[in-house]
């Protein structure tokens, strides 16, 4: 059995390189791989293109990479909440590619499924359709959206077995299952690692084939926030 569990987190640092496209799970802080993000911060890699719904929240998560100037471009659906990101964008220090949330999710799903792109009726006739191919199918207007793939995906799950089968926790699932399928290297940060066979096969959401590395999270929930263990 391939050893996917990484005990010494410093061993992950060499996986990150300047200019990579990194898919980052999470919606707000829910389902965000906070520990792996800390490692990226430590690695000091720059020029990252980050695909994530938003750039963290409450100064946590991707916000950490943003304030360190490691992010060149953010691809996601909701950056308005992040005032510093808006300022950086208006100064030309941060590129932003805005996609409707459902288009973002589907683009990543396609990226992992060997599909080059898809036609969607979302955003037809709006500013976000500018420059995109439009096509009428059965009398309805659709626009073409390209699939999204990453060099690395960092995701958050509740539990992994040693093979890398994953289950998630409530709405912390969000973008994580698709991101697990859509990158060359996939790192899963989990609360708990169990032996193979301990997760009911009927419950597994992400089969192990997608997961390359597993780490134990360094964070825990305390009331209304996440704190380092």
């Amino acid at each position: 059995m391939k050893q996917k569990i990484v005990e010494d987190l410093n061993n992950l640092i060499s996986l990150f390189k300047d200019g990579q496209k990194i898919l980052v799970g999470g919606f707000g802080i829910s389902g965000t791989p906070l520990t792996v993000i800390d490692i990226i911060a430590e690695s000091k890699v720059k020029g990252l293109h980050v695909v994530s719904n938003n750039l963290g929240d409450y100064g946590m998560g991707l916000h950490q990479l943003f304030i360190r100037g490691q992010i060149e471009k953010a691809i996601g659906s909701f950056f308005t909440i992040n005032r510093e990101a808006v300022v950086a964008w208006s100064k030309g220090e941060l590129q932003i590619d805005l996609l409707p949330q459902g288009t973002l999710a589907e683009a990543i799903r396609c990226g992992g499924a060997g599909i080059g792109g898809f036609y969607t009726k979302t955003a037809v006739g709006t500013e976000l359709a500018k420059g995109k191919e439009e096509r009428v199918i059965d009398g309805e207007r659709y626009i073409f959206e390209k699939a999204i793939k990453g060099d690395v995906a960092i995701i958050r799950a509740k539990k992994a077995d040693r093979l890398g089968n994953l289950i998630y926790h409530t709405t912390a699932r969000n973008f994580n299952p698709m991101m697990a399928t859509a990158a060359d290297i996939v790192i899963a940060e989990v609360d708990e690692i169990v032996e193979v066979g301990e997760i009911d096969p009927e419950q597994i959401v992400t089969p192990h084939v997608y997961v390359d590395y597993i780490i134990q999270t360094a964070y825990k929930k305390e009331g209304d926030k996440y704190v380092k263990c």
């Binding site: 929240d57 500013e127 698709m178």
Partner: protein, 216 residues
């Protein structure tokens, strides 16, 4: 009436439109308040971040910051709830499986085309699920105070805010009246305060007429 009272009044009126068995997505702002007036109707609330079956807000003991709605507020789950990924959630939305989306609006034109995600001359950096819901829900109900703080009507002859999609909404509930949109035409379904149809028309600068109820 205070601003909060007005918002609750709109939410309460929208709740009347919901029917047993419907899957409903409530947007940010006034739409969120609709939840407080659903009472014993059996509706299933969908959150686009991957939950069908939103329950009441959590107590301090129940709080789990991973379990949130699309406004990133902590929630609980209702009996029969299910969790799914964002891709599955938006398949549900775009695929026409959500019966009603209640969305806050910034502007609507007389045909029912809306603007609800961005304001002019501001950086456009957030859209979230707004456009997917506009494009995909079976029925879209707009929720808004009829006038902005400076007294400008949100029903406008032509949108000046960035449009949210080509799909026309079905209904608009405001503090003044309930409007419906059929065949590209705005009609008044109900007036909620002491004002005549002609006074209302004059106030918003668009000639309004009552909705025609045709016996089928």
């Amino acid at each position: 009436m205070s601003n909060a009272d007005v918002r609750y009044k709109i939410a309460q009126r929208i709740a009347q439109e919901l029917e047993d068995g419907q899957v409903v997505n409530l947007g940010v702002g006034i739409p969120t308040l609709v939840n407080e007036f659903i009472d014993d109707k059996e509706v299933y609330l969908q959150a686009e971040n991957g939950l069908l079956g939103i329950g009441p807000p959590p107590t301090k003991e129940e709080l789990d910051i991973d379990l949130i709605n699309a406004s990133k507020e902590p929630v609980t789950i209702a009996k029969g709830a299910s969790f799914f990924s964002s891709a599955d959630s938006f398949a549900m939305i775009r695929g026409g499986h959500v019966d009603v989306a209640v969305l806050g609006i910034l502007q609507v034109d007389p045909r029912g085309q809306i603007a609800n995600w961005a304001v002019p001359n501001q950086p456009i950096l957030g859209v979230g699920g707004a456009m997917d819901l506009v494009a995909g829900a079976k029925k879209v109900i707009g929720a808004a105070t009829l006038f902005t703080k400076d007294g400008t009507s949100k029903i406008v002859k032509e949108l000046t805010y960035p449009v949210s999609g080509v799909r026309l909404i079905d209904m608009l509930v405001t503090d003044y009246a309930v409007f419906s949109f059929e065949n590209g035409e705005i009609q008044v379904e109900e007036i909620l305060i002491d004002i005549s149809l002609s006074e209302l028309s004059e106030k918003i600068g668009i000639s309004l007429k009552w909705r025609e109820f045709i016996d089928k």
